[in-house]
């Protein structure tokens, strides 16, 4: 499914430059970066509450489509800056990872 459609349907906040015309294939949820590295798949949308610069490194390594920050967590400027540089969108929602997963499931992702 298209990322811009997901952003619109779920009312997500886009923290990076609006580079969201891309395809999402499946979702991964996790906050332990090593597990995400091992288990997430390419073009996944990744839901996490981690916000450190390290998440961009993980997303680059795996080739994730975008990062969705749950629970309205504050994201460091350094993280957003690097995300813009490597063109990985960071999205944010006040919902929990579980609620986001349910909404994405209803959408058919």
């Amino acid at each position: 499914m298209r990322l811009d459609k997901i952003v619109k349907e779920l009312g997500l906040e886009v923290l990076t430059e609006r580079d969201i015309e891309k395809e999402v294939k499946g979702v991964y949820i996790g906050d332990l970066l090593s597990l995400v590295m091992a288990n997430a798949s390419e073009n996944n949308l990744w839901i996490t509450i981690q916000t450190h610069l390290n998440i961009i490194a993980v997303a680059t390594l795996v080739g994730l489509s975008a990062i969705l920050i749950a629970e309205g967590m504050e994201v460091e400027d350094e993280t957003i800056k690097k995300a813009n540089e490597v063109k990985i969108p960071i999205l944010r929602s006040k919902l929990s990872a579980y609620e986001l997963a349910c909404r994405l499931y209803e959408l058919g992702v």
């Binding site: 332990l32 970066l33 090593s34 597990l35 590295m37 610069l53 390290n54 490194a57 390594l61 690097k82």
Partner: protein, 183 residues
């Protein structure tokens, strides 16, 4: 990572890539002071000041196969998450020292994990590297030194499967005894 032993393995692999011939791994636990300190020291090629300053950034790596290196950033994040601290120092031609400090009782502190497995993975990666593992828990201490094992083994190679399995069990058993004897 789920276990600190995996962070240790990651950092020690940096030491191997830096051509270290000796790696000291020190674990210091003091539940009275609520401290867990993990120290890695190697005699590898070391890093210059400018690389040292950047190395906590995941987008800095000496690897040429990919752009991202997460060994140091993840260990640092793990320590800071536990109200701890992280310090790295290095000198060209002398080696590198990495210290990670954790609040022992912090709810997000990962367990130390299978340290025996970490040590034999390192021996397996390079049997010529000498590893000294020191683990102290509330004053009780266990020391494992590959040079002592090699002395006993004589001409037998340290990375024979049976010996590796023995080393792994020997280390894990002794670490378990540290905890048991301190109760």
């Amino acid at each position: 990572m789920k276990e600190l032993s995996l962070h240790i393995l990651d950092l020690a692999e940096n030491s191997l890539r830096a051509k270290a011939t000796k790696i000291n791994i020190n674990i210091f636990e003091d539940t009275e002071k609520d401290l867990l300190i993990i120290e890695l020291e190697d005699n590898g090629i070391g890093m210059a000041e400018d690389l040292l300053r950047k190395v906590e950034n995941p987008f800095v790596t000496s690897r040429t196969t990919r752009k991202v290196g997460l060994g140091i950033p993840l260990m640092k994040a793990a320590a800071l998450r536990c109200e701890g601290d992280f310090k790295i120092s290095s000198e060209i031609g002398k080696g590198t020292r990495v210290i990670s400090i954790f609040k022992h009782s912090h709810i997000d502190r990962a367990p130390i994990g299978d340290i025996g497995q970490t040590i034999i993975s390192l021996i397996n990666a390079n049997e010529n590297v000498e590893i000294v593992y020191r683990h102290s828990y509330n004053g009780n201490c266990f020391v494992f030194d590959t040079r002592e094992i090699k002395k006993i083994l004589g001409n037998v190679s340290i990375n024979e499967a049976d010996i590796m399995l023995w080393i792994k069990d020997y280390i894990n058993e002794n670490v378990k005894n540290l905890y048991r004897n301190s109760q």
